[in-house]
Symmetry: C2
Subunit: 107 residues, 2 copies
DNA sequence: ATATTGTATCGTAATATTGCGATATACAAA
DNA sequence: TTTGTATATCGCAATATTACGATACAATAT
């Protein structure tokens, strides 16, 4: 059919999959790394840094923002993106749980 | 164009993205969790457990195996899948690096 | 030899992702 | 008011993913 059968899996598994999907594109990892560097970044600057067009960069930013990993605030015409540290910690914990479950029971 | 511009990003970033993509589908997370449970699993059992068809399950298994996170050995007609603990550790380290870079520089 | 079982692969349909030009919107400066 | 700047969204083309029935193949059982 071509559509994921999400309902077959637990909420936690789906949450982890959704966040992993955010990290499944190198541009989005680069964006998160760069925003980590500059603390409050503009789409234009990010676009220049990762060498993708402004629309493409904006689209990636929306994907990350939708996941909760980014916050943003407008100041004049500029939109400043920052990392949502709480969500980043939540993601870290989801991964930690996954590794714990997967590691301890195997081998 | 519809094709990822991988060359714009570092090797490490692409590696993390590739492994995150493996985890970006809930079925593949469930498979890894289940294999963690049973230590040496058959496609048929996994298929039953996650309630996807045998071909679909096999396809997901190939995706995970291609990433290196799974090993397998044939015994008779049965193929036993196990987790590649080394690769799992490598993945864990890639994530740890990502979180370190992203966390320490932000906020 | 034939049937059964477990798996992988082919083929295909439905859907999702990626990328960007064109465009719309909103603010700032002249 | 007009011009320039920063961003988001639309629309589209190319490609990738997801799912499964049909099928092929190999090992075992009858």
């Amino acid at each position: 059919m071509g559509v994921s059968k999400r309902h077959l899996h637990s909420v936690q598994v789906n949450q982890l999959a959704d966040l992993a999907k955010v990290l499944s594109h190198p541009a989005r990892i680069s964006i998160l790394n760069y925003i980590g560097d500059c603390d409050g970044c503009l789409c234009k600057d990010i676009s220049g840094k990762i060498r993708l067009s402004q629309p493409t960069t904006s689209q990636h930013l929306q994907v990350i923002k939708k996941s909760g990993l980014l916050k943003s605030k407008f100041e004049g015409k500029s939109q400043y993106y920052t990392i949502n540290k709480d969500k980043l910690t939540a993601l870290k914990n989801l991964f930690a749980d996954f590794f714990e479950v997967t590691e301890q029971k195997c081998c």
